[in-house]
Symmetry: C2
């Protein structure tokens, strides 16, 4: 069972993810990514899909041409867990 982060753990984690926005209502984090075109955007999505499948932790995400919006939360935990933080770090490592 994955546990929701405590307020202190969440605050610490979010400091390390400055590009991600925290939604208080859902206790989720999200980030938008913009690429040169659809081909690059979908190549990124494929990389994220492989990360997600490997971690068995999947994003809620959408794409419109060169833009990819990713939202992470842990349904089983009722909000953000360590799994979301690790996934966000892995996604950041793809682009930053």
């Amino acid at each position: 069972m994955v546990e929701q982060l405590s307020p202190a753990e969440r605050e610490d984690a979010l400091e390390g993810l400055p590009e991600w926005d925290h939604d208080d209502g859902r206790d989720s984090i999200s980030r938008s990514f913009t690429f040169d075109d659809f081909s690059q955007a979908f190549a990124f999505m494929t990389q994220v899909a492989l990360l997600a499948e490997k971690a068995d932790h999947h994003p809620e995400w959408s794409n419109v041409w060169n833009r990819v919006d990713i939202l992470l939360t842990t349904h089983d935990a009722g909000g953000l867990s360590e799994r979301d933080i690790e996934m966000a770090q892995a996604i950041d490592a793809l682009v930053d």
Copy 2:
């Protein structure tokens, strides 16, 4: 320049796409697809991405685990065009 379908053309086209819902406000069509798991959902998305890139006509779409929601419209035409109908038919052919 791609032209928006006339009301008569739209009606005819939508009769051939019974699984797609038409949104009057945006003059778009959308369909939800459900698969066994994320891996199958993303395999489908990859097929759609290749269709979209080949046609240079890209969907607005989202994915949550085993579900893929696809919306088609033609921004340049201000609504549905023949390109959306052809894309919807090609997507249907992947799954039906």
